[in-house]
């Protein structure tokens, strides 16, 4: 078991990454939907932007967010030496 201090530092970094992920998540869904009417005035490739964000844009960001979180966390595990045994 790693010592308490390492654990705390690891958990704090995790919290920061989680907060970052949730902020982006919130912006692409709720903030984008809140301003959907205004965003619809921007039309790209036939798509009104407000509509596009709800239909595709937010989804693409979600997929990216999860992979980003996974890769960063897996790196963080190694940095603090708390990764699973198999990979040592």
């Amino acid at each position: 078991m790693a010592d308490k201090k390492t654990l705390e530092a690891y958990w704090n970094e995790n919290k920061k990454l989680t907060a970052f992920t949730m902020i982006i998540w919130f912006v692409v869904t709720y903030v984008a939907a809140f301003f959907a009417k205004d965003l619809n005035n921007i039309v790209i490739f036939g798509f009104p932007f407000g509509y596009y964000m709800a239909a595709q844009g937010s989804l693409i960001v979600f997929v990216w967010l999860i992979f980003n979180y996974a890769f960063k966390m897996n790196k963080l595990d190694r940095k603090y030496g708390v990764q699973e045994e198999e990979e040592e």
């Binding site: 036939g46 407000g50 239909a55 979600f62 979180y69 996974a70 595990d77 990764q83």
Partner: protein, 668 residues
Amino acid sequence: MAKQKSAFLDNLGKIYLMYTGIFIAFVIGLGIAEKMGMSNKTMGYMFMGVTIGVYALIGVLSRTAKISEYYVAGRSVPAFFNGMATGSDWMSAASFIGMAGTIFGLGYDGLAYIMGWTGGYVLLAVFLGPYLRKFGQYTIPDFLGARYGGHAARTIGIIAAITASFTYLIAQVTGVGIIMSRFLAIDFQVGVFVGLAGILVCSMLGGMKAVTWTQVAQYIILIVAYLTPVTVMSYKATGVPISQIMYGQVLQKIDAKEKAINADAKEAEVRALWKKEVAKIDADIKGLPASLDQKKQDLDAKLAALPADAPAKGREAVEKAIKGLPKNPEEAKEKWTAAKTAAAGKSKPIKPYLEPFARLDMKNMLALTFCLMVGTAGLPHILMRYYTVPSVKDARISVGWSLFFIFLLYFTAPAYAAFARNEVLSNIVGLPIASLPTWMANWAKVGLVSFKDINADGILQFYELTIGPDAIVLATPEIAGLPYVVSGLVAAGGLAAALSTADGLLLTISNALSHDLYYKIVNPKASILKRLTISRVLLVVVALISAYVATFKLTIIVELVAWAFSIAAASFFPALVMGIWDKRANKAGALAGMWAGFGTCLFYMIGSRFYGLDWWGIKTISSGLFGIPLGFITIYVVSRLTAAPTKEMQELVESVRIPKGAGQAHAE
């Protein structure tokens, strides 16, 4: 991990690639057979028979007597394939058949479902998935039981898991019955039981292990089936077969068409007629109960007035109308109010498809999105899937793959809806009633499409046509004029979506009963053989009960499924998240929080649906909006007012937070 299994696990990619190739060859072969004169019915049997046969075969090949294989597939499912399995576990008959139709009808506001059912995976990825894998038990109530101690938390977990999963299961079984009966021309009841037999062979013999490998196979079929028709439609409409990019152009056409329809004089005439209809229904509702009696008397008089030699058809029509009357004033009020709302919708110009909050107000759309998201992250049959990967690291990546595979279908659904809407607005509306395409009559027969020339001008106006949401995906191959083999493919895809979800749900319910209730609470000394036997028997029993309930075709089921999300969101999510993220959370807090969340949610659901309760104008479907925050606050406050959890418990939480040591959880 046992060595003999690795031959299969090492070659997963090759095996499923080959499987996909064979499946595509099979579809092409049937396409050729169609050209050579194979009948539609034979083709239906080929599609249903072969796909269900494959699922059953996978079940037989994956049979197991090991507890860890039965419950969590031996924790040996690679992240990528677990993502695929989660995709089909997640995407139900509603996603496959209903979602594009919902967007078709609701426009922008229907996207609440798209965002809600994908955004939930972000919550799952950062708050729950990896930690549950580290904890490494068999079920979700397991976590509640271990983290909060004693049987109380586990029991609430069992109740919530079964409530949420069972309503959802009935909807899947109903979906199976509808697809089987429509494409095989057999009885709905028979269809339900044939479909169930397929599910049972699979999950009974091999538990989670068999379900996993079947779900991967089902994902491949359902995604091929979903993408094929819309890709062809895109190619036909725009010359480019990438529907997800090309439908931007179509959106502009829809907007222009809607404006033209709103300006059309004949369309205005139809709207005016609907307005009169609203007034008529309104008078009927106000005149209850006398108006209902009057209607019955009128029809009885009409029947009596028919001459003895009147054609049987006319007599049957009147008899049917009498039978169709509401049984009592309460039922009449409910039915007529719904009819009034529908008529009122048709009395106004079309609200622009692309305009946000035209059909749901902003508050309700955002609330619905939120409840669906949190509910997604709280559904036990999905959470359970992350127990099956080898490590925490894999669990994290696997959530990404899950969402990726779901995303492939979900980001296509709005394109599907747009192409279908464009087709209807441009090529169907405005046709002479006498020369409507045959698919409309075919689907009118099963009640998914209806049309009536209410202004009697011989032309179909927009508001003379009603298309049920379920018709969009199922009828699109015919709308686009594709050969019947594509219709068969879509049916096989819908069946795969319904069966895969039913498999996961069935396992969740029987595990909650056999593992959590029987083994953990009633008889902890039960042998492995006994536990597995009980679990298999329960699978059959639960399946039979759900099939029995499904044969009643209760209309409330669709509504109940939507409720399941709010229930899962308000009861499970706060207790699970706080169990990991708040070391101070204790048993008293969790129990109070789960009851408060579950209770508030249920109270508002029933209150707003049946007794006119109204908090802040929120609709019944988003009832979780109140229960979710209340659950969190209650856990936080009550935990701090009572004694802190033991030192061992706090250490458990600490160990869940780091991946190290996950290997130990393999024990047993």
